[in-house]
């Protein structure tokens, strides 16, 4: 099992870099007589798929080899005993490989990397699994358990599954999360309550959902009587138990509309088999990382973040 660590501050720089490039190209094309719309579309075409480029650039900059990760976490763990307030959290993403099809540039543009709007974002680490060819892949439930069970470096973790459903002809972005998700990230509700560990106890249990603040405004007009209402998704009814606070858009690239307990993932998606399934390669993510298999580490002592953002080891 190989896992890599990713730091998100690094991506803000990449966004800025790419934006600068595209703006230069567009300016030049406009100066040559293209219309603004033509210039943007031809600049983007010549650039290539922005999402793919971003993924590959991120992959290229990562720290490789779990040996290094293990060393780092041992070092970090020693530090924590002296400074127990630093909690490293692990986020493992179990994706369903549904291949989010969206306009690459729009999504990328929305991927503004302000520091994540959650509690203590610098202590968050994301674990990405790779197959033996170095390609990114999803973790199985059992791998998630194994990784997080007796790991002294990580105090909390969560896993999630991404699902797209449709309602009234519009796509609904769902994130099915393990029980500790909201508590770990220190998110509070704007209305009602958020998901709790008790909601995700057994497969198929807990048909409840939490709306994102954004979705609540957009699809329910900010109506405060939405709590307690039922929402039908994929032929099942879900009770709305709450709305997340304003400004919380999850941690990923796309803001989810709705959070449900991970126990509901199987009901929502025909291909899903969340709890208990040991299925590491069933749903390979369509976004394949560059899979750079280099073993030697670069000369730079820093990990991914080039912004001088050091690890929050507290050592």
């Amino acid at each position: 099992m190989r896992a890599l660590v990713r730091r998100r501050a690094h991506d803000a720089e990449l966004t800025d870099e790419i934006r600068y490039h595209l703006e230069r190209d567009v300016e030049r094309r406009i100066a040559r007589g293209e219309s603004s719309a033509e210039a943007w579309s031809s600049a983007r075409r010549q650039f290539g798929n922005v999402t793919v480029v971003a993924e590959e650039a991120r992959a290229a900059a990562r720290v490789e080899a779990i040996e290094q990760l293990i060393q780092d976490t041992r070092y970090a763990a020693r530090g924590f005993r002296r400074a127990p307030r630093f909690a490293l959290t692990v986020i493992l993403t179990i994706g369903l490989g549904l291949g989010l099809v969206t306009s690459a540039f729009t999504i990328f543009d929305a991927y503004v990397l302000r520091l994540l709007n959650v509690r203590d974002p610098r202590s968050l680490f994301e674990m990405q699994m790779h197959d033996k060819w170095g390609r990114e892949r999803n973790a199985s439930w059992n791998e998630y358990q194994a990784l997080t069970r007796a790991n002294p470096a990580f105090s909390e973790s969560f896993a999630s599954i991404w699902i797209i459903a449709r309602r009234d002809g519009e796509p609904v972005m769902l994130q099915a999360v393990t029980g500790g998700f909201f508590r770990m990230l220190g998110v509070s509700p704007a209305l009602g309550r958020l998901l709790e560990p008790g909601d995700a106890s057994a497969p198929g249990s807990g048909p409840v959902l939490v709306l994102s603040h954004r979705a609540w405004l957009a699809k329910f007009g900010g109506d405060s009587s939405v709590v307690g209402k039922t929402l039908r998704l994929r032929d099942r009814s879900y009770e709305v138990v709450g709305v997340a606070r304003e400004g919380f858009d999850g941690l990923g690239e796309t803001p989810p509309d709705v959070w449900v307990p991970i126990s509901m993932a199987a009901a929502l998606d025909d291909r899903a088999a969340a709890s208990g399934a040991d299925d590491p390669n069933a749903e390979d993510r369509r976004k394949i990382g560059a899979g750079d298999d280099r073993r030697e580490r670069g000369a730079r002592p820093e990990r991914v973040g080039n912004s001088g953002d050091g690890r929050s080891t507290g050592a």
Binding site: E13, L14, D16, E17, I18, Y20, H21, E23, R24, D25, Q46, F47, G48, N49, V50, V52, V53, E56, A57, R58, A59, A60, A61, R62, W133, A290, G291, D292, R294, E296, G298, A299, R300, N306
Partner: protein, 110 residues
């Protein structure tokens, strides 16, 4: 998959970027334009592929990056060869020469 082919292309692009940086610090846009100019348009690449290449080189310590101001007064990320990068360029160039000489021999033989 086409992994070997991808590696070859990646390696070639990395070499090109290293070579172009020999002339001094440049940002990603500058580099793509240099590729156009220097190859006289013969080399057609997706401009975006330069960015993973730059980050690979950075991760390996062959270039270092710093934010600076561009000629049109905007913030851009500038890359510069390190000493290790210069050395790598020489090594790779040498390897490439040997490879193409060997290839030439094979292609020209009998």
């Amino acid at each position: 998959m086409g992994d070997a082919k991808t590696d070859l292309l990646q390696g070639t692009l990395d070499l090109i970027v290293l070579r172009l940086l020999r002339g001094g610090p440049a940002n990603g846009w500058d580099i793509t334009q240099s590729i156009q100019v220097v190859s006289k348009g013969a080399l057609e690449i997706n401009y975006g592929s330069v960015y993973p290449a730059l980050r690979r080189l950075e991760a390996q310590g062959f270039v270092k990056a710093e934010w600076g101001t561009s000629d049109n007064n905007r913030r851009a990320r500038y890359y510069e060869l390190t000493a290790a990068g210069r050395k790598q360029l020489a090594t790779e160039r040498e390897a490439w020469e040997r490879f193409s000489a060997a290839l030439g021999l094979i292609l020209d033989a009998g």
